[in-house]
């Protein structure tokens, strides 16, 4: 069933009018028991299943997804990958992810189109330049790449930016992370799904988890639309729906679910070959290989599970974009959508045990967990396989909200997550 993808197989299929491709994963019915069940077939759930098989030899695994795989935030995000964080704990985590992304297409025989086109954060005054220098130093000390650009260097990288004398936010310089960039979101979900499936993992779509089976205080499985499924360990990777699931076993989480929106324009000739984020307008933009501008901004300000955006934020993001790049003002949007993101008090994720035996968590990625999919999967697999923390995941334990040892990237890196 497993077909290796290569330039040669593409050529061969071309000769047969591409009629010989087989499906990339099976559509199995759930078994009654697994070693591990993962709830949520987004990037984090699928990557977890893959690394359980590859790193830990655990293949009797099911990923249970209520809709279609990758249809949650993973298929709705603006695909920025970066590790430009302030605290060492965060850089360890996101840097692991960028490193895994750098090798992913080759490792798993699927082109995820990881393009290290650079990630730029603009600075708009001398004090901001000082903070930018501090950020660059922190990133370098923590072991990732960062450069401080002055205005002329930035102008060379992003000539379409607003350099007019009447600009509301004149640019003084920027932070560049060269190894940052974008990847294709669906491809990341599909790549992990295909690799996990070929290792024996059952991916069960259209199967909502309704409740947990708890015996003697231990989680031993889940009740689903397709009936009861038992497991030695259950991992929840359900992003914005984590609180809703865990309240079924009376566990409350430090999460608020908000809508985050994204926008894609009509296709244009290439105008920008990097990712630019302006903290003052809150908007960021890159250009996809098809030519569409991929545009994002901040959270809607009303807590929501609606999975669609509201107008005030659309207005804020669009006016921000036009302030950044006025020549885009005549460009038309093709599509707009929203995802339900899980925002924690310190804008850092939650990884580890829940307090209930047999039940583990991977959530709280909020607005920035696409970049973390390889690392989130890698670490969550290790947690599920061993029942304890990996060194890199330890600081992200739920316990930090009680000890107060937060990893406050919202304040530290000063960038949206």
């Amino acid at each position: 069933m497993f077909q290796r993808y290569s330039a040669f197989s593409l050529f061969q299929q071309g000769l047969r009018s591409h009629r010989g491709w087989t499906s990339a994963w099976r559509t199995p019915l759930p078994k009654s028991t697994y070693d591990v069940i993962i709830i949520g077939g987004g990037g984090h759930g699928l990557a977890t299943a893959y690394y359980l098989a590859r790193n830990h030899g655990i293949t009797n695994v099911a990923v249970i997804e209520k809709n279609w795989l990758g249809g949650g935030n993973t298929g709705r995000n603006t695909t920025v990958v970066r590790s430009n964080y302030f605290y060492p704990e965060s850089v360890d985590l996101y840097e692991l992810s960028v490193k895994l992304y750098e090798k992913l297409s080759r490792d798993i025989n699927f082109n995820v189109m990881f393009s290290q086109r650079g990630m730029i954060v603009t600075a708009h005054s001398e004090p901001e330049m000082e903070m930018a220098a501090r950020q660059v130093n922190a990133m370098r000390i923590n072991g990732t790449d960062a450069e401080l650009l002055d205005e002329a260097q930035f102008r060379k990288k992003v000539p379409i930016f607003n350099f007019r004398p009447d600009a509301r936010f004149p640019v003084h310089g920027a932070i560049l992370q060269k190894r940052g960039g974008t990847a294709r979101h669906d491809a990341v979900a599909w790549a992990y799904a295909r690799a996990a499936d070929s290792a024996g993992v059952d991916i069960i779509q259209n199967c909502e988890v309704e409740d947990f089976i708890v015996e003697n205080g231990k989680c031993v499985g889940v009740n689903t639309k397709l009936g009861e499924i038992r497991a030695g360990a259950v991992g929840v990777a359900a992003a914005g729906h984590s609180s809703d699931l865990l309240q079924k076993v009376d566990i409350t989480l430090p999460l608020n679910s908000y809508t985050l929106q994204a926008f894609v324009s009509e296709p244009l000739k290439p105008v920008i070959d990097t990712v630019v984020y302006c903290p003052l307008t809150g908007a960021y933009v890159s250009q996809s290989d098809k030519g569409g501008l991929v545009i994002g901004g901040g959270l809607d300000r009303v807590p929501s599970y609606g999975q669609r955006g509201n107008l005030p934020m659309q207005e804020a993001v669009m006016s921000g974009l036009i302030e950044m790049v006025p020549l885009l003002s005549k460009v038309k949007l093709l599509r707009q959508w929203g995802g339900t993101v899980d925002v924690s008090p310190d804008s850092s994720p939650i990884l580890g045990p829940t307090g209930m035996e047999g039940l583990y968590l991977n959530c709280g990625w909020g607005t920035g967990g696409f970049k973390a999919i390889p690392a989130g999967g890698y670490l969550f697999a290790s947690i599920l396989a061993t029942g304890g923390h990996h060194d890199i995941s330890k600081p992200f334990d739920l316990g930090r909200f009680i000890t107060g040892k937060l990893i406050d990237e919202a304040a530290g890196a000063g960038i949206a997550h």
Binding site: S243, D244, P254, L255, R301, G306, N310, P312
Partner: protein, 88 residues
Amino acid sequence: MQIFICPFCGPRDEREFHFEREAGKIRPDTTKLVSDIGWSDYLNEQRNTKGAVREVWSHLPCHELFVMERNSLTMDVIYSTSRRGPVT
């Protein structure tokens, strides 16, 4: 644009409002020793309900603090209650 209801000003544009927190949380009694878990429950834990919610909002132009009932899934706005009287 969604319309929220300020108990003092009436129906107004959502941009004029600010979400404060979930309703019904009581600050720990600091005349007694408060445990770390007690503080964490109060400061960090969220019900984050999918469906009918009660939340404290403020109307920025007039500074009214009030309880709004709405649905976090359908986004229907149901009712606003002023905090100036007793709130249950």
